[in-house]
Symmetry: C3
Amino acid sequence: MKNPQLNKNGELQHLLTTEGLPVKIVRDILDRAATFLDAGGREIKKVPLLHGKSVFNVFFENSTRTRTTFEIAAKRLSADVVNLNIGSSSTSKGETLLDTVGNLCAMHADMFVVRHAQSGAAHFIARHVAPDVHVINAGDGRHAHPTQALLDMFTIRHYKKEFHNLRVAIVGDVLHSRVARSQIHALTTLGVPEVRVIAPKTLLPTMVANLGVQVYHDMAQGLRDVDVVLMLRLQNERMQGAALPSAQEYFKNYGLTEEKLARAKPDAIVMHPGPMNRGIEIDSCVADGAHSVILSQVTFGIAVRMAVMSMLAGAKG
Amino acid sequence: MKNPQLNKNGELQHLLTTEGLPVKIVRDILDRAATFLDAGGREIKKVPLLHGKSVFNVFFENSTRTRTTFEIAAKRLSADVVNLNIGSSSTSKGETLLDTVGNLCAMHADMFVVRHAQSGAAHFIARHVAPDVHVINAGDGRHAHPTQALLDMFTIRHYKKEFHNLRVAIVGDVLHSRVARSQIHALTTLGVPEVRVIAPKTLLPTMVANLGVQVYHDMAQGLRDVDVVLMLRLQNERMQGAALPSAQEYFKNYGLTEEKLARAKPDAIVMHPGPMNRGIEIDSCVADGAHSVILSQVTFGIAVRMAVMSMLAGAKG
Amino acid sequence: MKNPQLNKNGELQHLLTTEGLPVKIVRDILDRAATFLDAGGREIKKVPLLHGKSVFNVFFENSTRTRTTFEIAAKRLSADVVNLNIGSSSTSKGETLLDTVGNLCAMHADMFVVRHAQSGAAHFIARHVAPDVHVINAGDGRHAHPTQALLDMFTIRHYKKEFHNLRVAIVGDVLHSRVARSQIHALTTLGVPEVRVIAPKTLLPTMVANLGVQVYHDMAQGLRDVDVVLMLRLQNERMQGAALPSAQEYFKNYGLTEEKLARAKPDAIVMHPGPMNRGIEIDSCVADGAHSVILSQVTFGIAVRMAVMSMLAGAKG
């Protein structure tokens, strides 16, 4: 089956998921992202690569933070950016998703950044846009959030240089997390030999082992000698649900504290996609501590999104 | 009476309605719009005509789609664009419409794009802005939606070349439609010899024949030998009202199907202002069929709005 | 104690309040604002001083009008502007204010414009941003609204040339007004010898005389021979409260009418921060009359905000 993310020349046409993304493309994205950062990795330069192009942030599900990161990335590339909160507009007028997308294409969009509550929405849109329009999945249901996973890979490479010698643990609500799925695929693609997931049984997909990960239900065991700890956000709505006893209980068992982190390697890094629930999935001491690279993730996220956008815009397929 | 849309040199000062708009101005807008499209009519170029100018999208009534078309048009002209959703802000603080407009003028707006639920709101604002400020009506109550009608005229000319030999039918809820009013005035101005409206009696204004149109209550008769079919959107709120028996009944009588369309000329084009209610006013086969030019309307709409904005900005009155 | 608004070279690092702002800085802001206006004070020029910089409008409290003035000012300076309505996003996801700000800094913001319902929020944020990030307070609780006060000073200087010979009256709900506090500090700093506040006892802070102002409860006395009348907005929510008998009663006693204004000097100017409640705190005859400079305030407000932003961007601390 043809890879829906690549054009006939094998270039990146859409970014929909890290699953099945060729390792060369992943490495190209990370390499290009590095060029948008200064030597220290702190400053992001403004470049005219997307001048005259129109990027539409089409958010069927509200997310100010994610929308802002894409808006900033597109403006640093000198694109025209239009934000659309579709939840409150055309769909409520009975228009189909396909008509909404068709209309936006007809307005001569060059790129869509799509967030949608339904798994597969970005793939569906990518199948129906004109050949010169590019789609970036900014999160679809429980399925994928590829730019988050790619910025996580960039962060890991920045601090650890290589992937082939790493032990990485993903901790928390894997069941409902599109971030976790995208991370697992990206880590595997980049050759990380050992990926662990640590979670209570109620927050794990039934077939999780099929993803090529090792499953732990105990933090003390799961964190032992890991190089990288990827914390997941616990969705507020889960905390009220039957899946969890209580926030306190969750924190006791799966919240990342300094004590638990001591099981990891001495130079382990701690990451989180944000926004954090301090005191629930992560202790403030750890979030603000020496192992945390959480704010670097945000900075790198802008560079990675610039890299993806500029690669898509350059595809000649 | 002085035409409120023209300055003392006869140039376009505001675009408020297609009623009373001189045919020369209408043709100038269509000609200029053509210059913003490439030869094939698919690509829209970015130009610096409004660099340094500020366009305010002032929407007292929410409409993501219409606001987006104006935002895109203004950005393609290199203007600074500011979006204001007034519904949720100053008016709720008790400020008068005139004070809101006065304030925005004082911020040195060059152009207002106004959407308002009250008929006549754009005219009212145009009467009160400073002489160097231009107003575009993006829809006021049941009154007018001139850029929609102008993009429809552009589309008709694109496919039919001339107006003087056309038979055009407008189908649907004419009673509540600002689009229909603006279309009728524009078609008449451009010399279309036969404009028909097709609707049930309950969805027609009582004095509709005074607008110079022929009235039909039957689709089979009304569509016979027409060159252009302009479908109107059936507002959701009407469908629940007493004016209509049911959506199914409406579709049976006034929904555009391939069978009904067969009465029109073989090369007839089908248009719709969007968003469409598929299966209510139009069948999907027709919406996506060979006669449909609905998505071209959207593309042309950007070019027409660029044309209007650049003409207003160039008025030296 | 170190002034939190100045860097180690004594340059403006943040604009948080007019309290304690050195008179030289205040005069610099007013002088620089003048350079952004043409000779007549009506036109604002576009300049590239903030090209490549990112200004984040971070509004934890909704205010379309204030947000728009900053957005326009930043765009006139050629900055990239990102609007964030935080009320409806991350904070509702349980993220702390500090995490929100940390994240935005990590996205490489150059400047924050902050509106928050809590007094002191802008100071708090300024204490925690990176050294190269600047914060502008766009209103925090009842505490301060420095750009409003500075544009008021600009307006006074524009019409009255000097401050040292003026009698200025501030009228209305001083108790709840961050604008009044900021005005009093700015007027005092600029050497206005006589600042009066006129209000019912229920709308005055208990220690108001400590601010160096003269207190009046009677308009006829308070307005006598003043050069400048600064009206305050009466918040809608106060009007329903126990603090006031009724809107009619308030207008009778403290609403600015031509009759009451006749007590002021013949060339007195009348100002209001907007949005106005006509017929409550100010009569329409006065709002639209010869003494009113209310719309000039809005125009000057853009220039003053451009001045502040460009000074902050130029600080080399």
